[in-house]
């Protein structure tokens, strides 16, 4: 997809934002240090690391303002993420796009703004690094260069987190990263009155595959199954390797019927695949436990336990099966 199309791919952008796992998380020192540097180097009273969600801005780090959320329709950053370039506003009261915004008309009286898109390596703008002043101001090319480098620091730290949250064998999320991201997503679906589901997948007789063909062969099967999952899942779904041969999938805005249909497609695909292990064709199957996240449970662990009980049932019922509640 070219860069221009990525700017218009809001669903892909939001999925990248969810994968980053930062929405609704508390303030953290690494980001606060960068906003502090922005404030001191550019000599502005307000600096933010802002993430642009579907309907709101989530301020991951904010100095000089007492808010953590701003409605998206009255935000400067919504404009910043429409481009891969800096957005400069010298005097918001003279700019028809911004002069009626509450933060311009009232407190803190925003007058000037410099925003740099926070762009992922694959071209999605997750949000913006912002320097904001309460007096009209001309930001120079040198200011833009400094801010651009600060924004690269933010993204490099984020990418480091993505590495920590990725399983090195399969590229899926790690258990820890997945748990943190799913916790946030369950809360989000509940706020919006939407269902969500968890699917657990365990490769059948994996020990036998390892014992017969060796661990490198087992690793190749895990990679191939992960690839099948990546190709089947939507961008907003969260996929993790949570144990040796066990994977978890979180499906937002998905009820148990839809989740079961997806799991059945995956089960069928895996069982139909012939894995070529150095010239020897090998078949592998997987069992699935599927549950819609019930409204009464608290925490991802409880949802995982429900899915795990169903996975156990799929195993005891004969394997290569889906079991759903």
């Amino acid at each position: 997809m070219d860069e221009r199309r990525k700017l218009n791919d809001e669903q892909g952008r939001l999925a990248a934002l969810r994968r980053a796992g930062l929405l609704d998380t508390p303030r953290e020192e690494p980001f606060d240090r960068i906003t502090e540097l922005v404030r001191s180097v550019l000599n502005v009273p307000i600096a933010t690391v802002t993430l642009v969600d579907a309907e709101r801005l989530w301020l991951k780090s904010v100095l000089g303002l007492q808010v953590t959320e701003v409605p998206r329709e009255v935000s400067f950053c919504t404009h910043t993420i429409q481009s891969h370039e800096a957005l400069i506003v010298e005097d918001a009261t003279q700019d028809a796009r911004f002069r009626d915004y509450p933060y311009v008309l009232g407190e803190p009286g925003v007058r000037s703004y410099l925003g740099i898109p926070l762009e992922t390596p694959d071209g999605y703008n997750l949000g913006a690094l912002c320097a904001i002043d309460t007096v009209p101001r001309q930001f120079s090319a040198a200011d833009v260069a400094i801010m651009t480098n600060f924004s690269r620091l933010v993204m490099n730290e984020l990418e480091l987190r993505q590495i920590a949250m990725s399983d090195s064998l399969t590229g899926a999320m790690t258990r820890r990263g997945w748990m943190e991201a799913v916790e946030t997503q369950i809360a989000r679906c509940r706020r919006n009155g939407q269902p969500s589901s968890i699917v657990l997948l365990d490769v059948d007789h994996f020990k036998r595959i390892n014992d017969t063909h060796g661990h490198p062969a087992g690793d190749r099967i895990l990679r191939a199954i992960s690839q099948a999952c990546f190709e089947t899942l939507r961008e907003a779904d969260l996929f993790a390797r949570i144990g040796g041969e066990e994977f978890a999938i979180f499906l937002p805005v998905t009820d148990s019927v839809e989740a079961a249909a997806l799991a059945e497609r995956l089960r069928d695909r895996i069982s139909q695949t012939s894995f070529d292990l150095d010239g020897t064709p090998v078949r592998a199957t997987a069992s699935f436990g599927i549950t819609e996240v019930p409204p009464y449970i608290e925490g991802v662990e409880a949802g995982l336990r429900l899915a795990d009980a169903l996975l156990y049932k799929a195993k005891t019922d004969g394997r290569n099966l889906c079991r759903v509640a």
Partner: protein
């Protein structure tokens, strides 16, 4: 502040990271961080900021990255058993 001074400033700030045993998957990130810090130092010099401010900014930015890097190294080690 000549260019060699900025390189020195970045090298000094990154030294604790250079001394760490960084796993292969993180090498590219460390190299990228080096380059960004050097670009940042240059951009600050071009903006007319003092040597002291450049130095302290680079050190702060580097300390922040170092903390994140250590967390990531530990996470990767835990993953690999």
């Amino acid at each position: 502040m000549p260019h060699s001074k900025q390189i020195k400033t970045v090298e000094m700030a990154m030294k604790p990271i250079g001394d760490m045993k960084v796993p292969e998957p993180l090498r590219a990130s460390v190299d990228k961080q080096n380059q960004i810090l050097l670009d940042l130092a240059l951009s600050m010099v071009n903006a007319g900021l003092s040597e002291q401010q450049v130095r302290s900014t680079i050190e702060t930015a580097c300390a922040s990255y170092r903390d994140e890097l250590i967390t990531t190294v530990l996470a990767i080690r835990a993953q690999n058993g």
